[in-house]
């Protein structure tokens, strides 16, 4: 079931996949000349905040979290990147250290493109430049959304929203018919929602009671997206 008529998915999604999808052959061969694909395990770290970047990453299969850890060790997940998305390009383009860290949420296949190839392809291709400008500008809108929502919504609303957003990301891993299963630890979910685990768990219990979701072991199964969207109370 698509929810585009009920919920502005794109307002919460970077759509970084569109940067390289259907790139002309010449561009793609320049970019992927030295691309190395590798298998990663759940929990593996692609890059860490504060380090200088050597290249960018392409998530061919799997899912990753972009997050920051504050001085108290508290983690905040900024974004969940899924299949087809690029990560790690901000630091390269800003000519700066990584502003966040990135770890895999499940076993994944990830391509690595060296910094030089990425920059060279940008120099060669106005199309790639344009696409990057477009995606980065769109990301601004997504993050502005996030800031507003974070500062003005309750834990209950934020949890409902994140479940709706996660549902979109976990869709490709699920049976096309049938409800979407989200396999994310309560710890990660609360770091995404930006609240303590206990609070998020209590909200989940409430949602379960209201039959908006159900659980199977540790998995969260979304039963009523429309209901969750209503609770998220966007506008």
């Amino acid at each position: 079931m698509s929810i585009r008529h009920l919920f502005p998915v794109q307002s919460w999604d970077f759509q970084s996949g569109s940067i390289i999808s259907n790139l002309p052959p010449k561009e793609w061969s320049l970019l992927s000349a030295h691309m190395v694909e590798a298998q990663y395990n759940k929990g593996d770290i692609l890059f860490k905040e504060g380090f200088y970047p050597n290249g960018i990453f392409f998530i061919r299969k799997g899912m990753a979290k972009k997050y920051r850890i504050n001085k108290d060790g508290q983690e905040q997940i900024i974004y969940v990147a899924s299949q087809g998305e690029l990560v790690g390009y901000h630091a390269v383009l800003a000519e700066d250290r990584y502003p966040d860290s990135c770890a895999l949420l499940e076993d994944s296949i990830v391509g690595f493109i060296p910094r030089e190839d990425f920059l060279k392809t940008i120099d060669y291709s106005p199309l790639l430049s344009k696409r990057l400008l477009k995606t980065l500008s769109h990301e601004f809108a997504v993050l502005a959304n996030n800031i507003t929502f974070f500062s003005q919504s309750s834990v209950r609303e934020r949890t409902a929203l994140q479940l709706v957003v996660l549902r979109e990301k976990y869709k490709p891993m699920n049976d096309k018919n049938g409800p979407v299963e989200i396999t994310m630890s309560r710890e990660n979910l609360s770091n995404l929602v930006g609240s303590a685990r206990e609070n998020v768990v209590r909200v989940l219990s409430e949602f379960k009671e209201a039959e908006l979701i159900t659980t199977n072991g540790r998995k969260i199964i979304i039963l009523d997206v429309a209901g969750l969207i209503k609770i998220a109370n966007l506008r």
Copy 2:
């Protein structure tokens, strides 16, 4: 007094001014070919969320807030842009509506550059493209900072941080020696901090008691930046 050794100013500032500062003559003449400069009054609106952009704005003198308003009418200030900064380019580059609104915080002089000239200059100038990519990527880091700080810090910490950030923005309007005066309504300050006016006022009273700040009428005068930075408790 510079606080760069105490506080990472750049982590909280878009630095969009660097996009057009010292642009080569040819680029600048293309970009500014039809630029119109105008005087605006405090409170005037440059653009509104949801509208399609016709061009970008250059704040020659003054200050503007970028903000979003949620369905309850609650305003969240995303960013305060000051002298020398560009605003409104995200929507043009994303080929989308404005993700936020922008209003002037004081009487200002603002230049308007038509969409077409901006895009044409980007097409012509790899340098401008590069600078935009760099600035947009840097903005990502700033917003990621904001999200983390918003979700993990108390109103007291957030208020201290914003005062430090605002001090930098209000510096140019103040006597080079002497402390910096911030002329911002408590309403705007609390919309920036992301809390109710009353809470922010109480925090200000506490800061005043501790002689970190003082007030003169409605103006806030920063007396002890180092103390505020300590309270902001960054890392």
